[in-house]
Symmetry: D2
Subunit: 367 residues, 4 copies
């Protein structure tokens, strides 16, 4: 069975206020990195701009980015810090079309059915029933594996446990990851597990702390710095399993963004966080599914730069964002920060990843 | 492979202070339900009392219960409220044998290995590696199924989700439960799911709230009260699946303790909480493994009445207590309340139960 | 300044569908404790029933209770278990007036202002700004002290800390509590603190665990059982401070509901939970403000039986419910269980109670 | 009353194994940023190295940093990435003096008293009694104000609420902060509150979201980028209150470290996280008290670089670290990452900061 997207209903611009609304206004950037007053900022939804009488969609989007009209009539979305003098920024904050700007939140939505005045349990929490979400995700990932671009956003906890680290490695090597966004800690502890069997000094299986194991992550980093690259380290130390190993041997791009918590860091970690954002966005702009596991920092960072839709060859499809964390607060935060179309699961990411592996990879073997 | 218990090392009473210590002292109860001053109270560990020159173990134990010397020389452990006038209560609070009382915490323990001054991650949290705990539990339950007494302590969340409700029902019908302790809500929502497909008004699979679904749990309770018993309800409504159904059809005792949160209640719910404690203790005193899922109230209640060991035909073996909850605070609380020998897993019980079913029941089918 | 309630806007029944709707239908109870099919169940909101052509309000309400028409034409709300044979239960589940039943949720509500398509941070969490909620509560309590009925619902944690226990005792003795609903643990540890300085074995100020302090709560309970009543205990042991002491000496009713977690219990603890519900409801039906601190069990139990309004001498005013807990999940649960009009604060109850004392009692001394 | 530190007990090196142990060994760095094998890494405790027969303390410390012997015989602690070719790194991992390295964890500790086999509630949680910790902190801060170096580490939540933002601003202007470590979000939302009354679009007092308020933080950042500096922004927009304003006008250094979550960023935010670490460490190496509020990222980063002691003019005193967060997991994490000597408080930082202001500043006014 092929996974079915909801159809995208194109907005009908053959009606008011769209017909008689003016073209979107632009004002030119005077100072690098500073937008003109009344600049428009993007949401996660498709946004149309009236340019030369036509309603066009931005070529790609990013929440809180600024729309810039190019000379070819296309609209690009640019971060504040990347605005250049002379850029024509679209201005205006009405979202309903009257100012030549239209934010279209309902493109994928079916009509809501009638609802009671009251229903229990409207929020999503540890007590939400997740069976359907799991099943949907299994179907989605089988489809995306060959037709989409799956981006994983990983906190270090996912490599602290033997089974979940193995499961994630398997998913990567079976083609279920097209890019991985993480930080120094995830890569460090994954490689520490490969070399020493521990993550932050504790055995990933038997929970023991061997003598001097609190040196392991530092030793690992030091060896990697000596080797000069993760690839070099893997060769030198004959590492043959794990998340980093699977990513590198399967040519899955691995963006490691630096943070002030980092030891080391490992060689490929990007020290400049805004440069890291640019590297992350290279993948989130292609993403068709984003799966964020147990990291508030990377999840909100990635969520902010992932729109609710993507377009390819003129076709528009939804982008699916999953956020898995054991704390309601953490998963709600992504939503509270504007990523409204996220599916949240409140559980331990260890169990989540193992379920995915069991249902995706073993199903494949059976068939 | 058969699951291996740690051997119980009998304490060596052929040494001081045990040899020259006096018999345990007793004082007679004067007022019903009131212990004499300096009464001794039990811990979760095996406790020996010197009676007529011999060190004997209480026939069974309960934390915070009071040891009562019977005329046959045996020691029974009695709750305060169950003390009768004339009961001979053992008094004394030294635990080291000098007063004829010996608390023996190390019976199952192997010698600790040397440890570093410092190790990371000493507590158990969402970031603890649970692979080994899962594997140990799988082996344990395979053994206990035929040789032990597995008591489940269930919060309602475990029946809110389609897969976990199915998984738990399957485990029960396959022999992995010898008793179930829960409250009105678990049974209500399980039966609501059987009859209406919802739990507290929300579909356990598709997360929808059908019109007037907030009446479902009340309707279910009303129907059960009409039927007069759960068995009657199941027959009348032709219910053929679920936790309550599986328990009843497989003759697994189901103790439902009342609470002030209850609607209804269902017919078999025990209104008097101390009577409910007595009914619960009938099963915890037989328990060899106790698995507590997503309920602080029932977990701490059951944990309090489950000792760390059990004896049968003169043999002493450990009792395994598992506590699974999504909040570190909840699982730590059981430990903070004196149940020191508990294995805690911090995750969503939905995933936990599904893992158990997948590993226990499918393994069986394969072989 | 006097605290200002929102006015209650009486529903306008001089319009359709109210004018031409039929009287509410009743069906007679056939079996004790069982409602007829299609019984109506109450929400937290005011509900009107058309009786003999007039729309009348139930004399008092309780969520999930059943409306019973009395021979004098009044409507009483009765729990399922309290239904008697012959009771005339109002049936029907349309809430819009067409069946003679009208659920009126907007009585205290001002008109909503227009809202943006999107706003950040719509939920309430640890990051919600609570300054206004605190100030409103201070004003409310100053008013309620003399004109309302303030019911406190207390988990044990509030007496674990020196300052918060003192603060709460002061609030009680200064008239800020008209009833207290709690369990065995709150009273036990409060009295333990009065007698031994500890709560569950730990000093409430210096956090030390004195030798054998894990006996303290058992000793306290045993002494209370010996004394036969809390009043007797207080006299015998010359206890002169604390929550229980302040309640008893100020004639503030203290309802202690039993639970399966209880040690002991203390003499006045109610063993039968449904009897306990009846005793609790005696106070919640009078409540004008309900403040629930750090207890899921008692909070949801009390919240379920407290409607969003109260009427006295024909006047209808809102009932204010506050729920304070350190976990978003806990405070959201009350809302998810139907208590929609609750104000939640996510913080440690220790700090909350101390703030209240500092702002209410010290303000009084200044003036 | 003057705050009393525990005396530092100098280790007694006039005994074995110290007398006959060899000098600490060094190995020279061959590759920049890479330590020689068997390098030693520092803990949070004082560590002594035997150099030319004398036991000397490192001039300052940093957990996981590497000790480098300088030509003047002093030992400096250097991050891996800052190691230069030719640096003499001390090697060896025995901590007991036998290899010329001695980790001294007990310098400030009084002798432990005897403990029971069992005590309830050994961990710190929401239920820990915090009264003493608050009182100790009040006394400490009064002393540190004039004699120490108080470093605040701030997550954005502390400026989301009206009262806590005011309280913190007051503490800064009254001299209770010597440095502030934070990120782009804290400064952005504090200045947003100053200019628009909102934090991330929500009014910090009345919780309303004004129209288009989700533009406020972007507008604020854009204005700051236009102004070119926070000082310039404050002047241009006539900002006269808040955390950033109070810091700048009172010459309290404000280090803003970049992260991948950042919008903007504000002009002074440090894009390179390792450069940010260097700037942060300038303050943590002077810190005598560190107070971390509601930020895992900055708390662990700062905690990692703050040792348990500081030395000045040959005197050694403890460094006090406080970590306040509403989640047990968050405060335990700092401890699990090696910052063992931290005092944790589990509460909402809003209440914490208001308590501090009320007790420190109002006390001052009274006297």
């Amino acid at each position: 069975m092929t996974f079915q997207f909801p159809d995208y209903k194109q907005p009908n611009f053959d009606q008011e206020p769209f017909l008689s609304s003016p073209d979107a206004q632009v004002i030119v950037v005077k100072k690098p990195g500073v937008a003109p007053e009344h600049y428009h900022a993007l949401s996660i939804y498709p946004e149309y701009f009236k340019i030369n009488g036509d309603w066009i969609l931005a070529t790609e989007s990013r929440m809180d980015g600024v729309p810039v009209l190019r000379t070819d009539g296309s609209v690009h979305v640019v971060e504040f810090r990347n605005l250049n003098v002379g850029d024509k920024v679209i201005v205006g904050r009405r979202e309903d079309g009257h100012e030549g700007i239209y934010v279209y939140a309902d493109g994928f939505r079916s009509n809501d059915t009638n609802k009671d005045l009251f229903a229990f349990r409207s929020g999503r929490s540890r007590e939400t029933a997740y069976s359907m979400d799991y099943n949907d995700l299994y179907e989605l990932l089988k489809y995306e594996k060959d037709h989409g671009y799956i981006v994983w956003v990983l906190g270090p906890a996912v490599v602290f446990d033997y089974d979940s680290r193995q499961a994630l490695s398997t998913l990567i090597s079976k083609g279920y990851a097209h890019a991985i966004l993480a930080g120094n800690a995830m890569a460090t502890h994954d490689l520490e597990a490969a070399l020493f069997g521990t993550a932050l000094g504790q055995n990933t299986y038997n929970q023991q702390s061997p003598p001097n194991a609190h040196y392991h992550h530092l030793d690992l980093i030091n060896k990697a710095r000596e080797a000069g690259s993760l690839k070099g380290l893997i060769e030198k130390e004959a590492i043959d399993e794990g998340v980093v190993y699977s990513a590198i041997t399967n040519n899955v791009p691995l963006v490691l963004a630096g943070s002030i918590r980092d030891d080391g860091p490992l060689p490929p970690v990007i020290a400049d966080v805004y440069h890291a954002q640019d590297e992350m966005r290279k993948h989130t702009r292609q993403a068709t599914t984003l799966i964020c596991l147990a990291t508030q920092l990377h999840t909100i960072a990635s969520g902010n730069m992932t729109p609710a839709y993507t377009q390819k060859n003129g076709e528009i499809r939804p982008v699916y964002i999953y956020c898995v964390d054991i704390a309601e607060f953490a998963v709600n935060k992504l939503r509270d920060r504007g990523s409204l179309e996220v599916t949240t699961l409140v559980t331990n990411v260890q169990d989540f990843v193992v379920h995915l592996r069991n249902n995706l990879v073993q199903t494949m073997q059976d068939s």
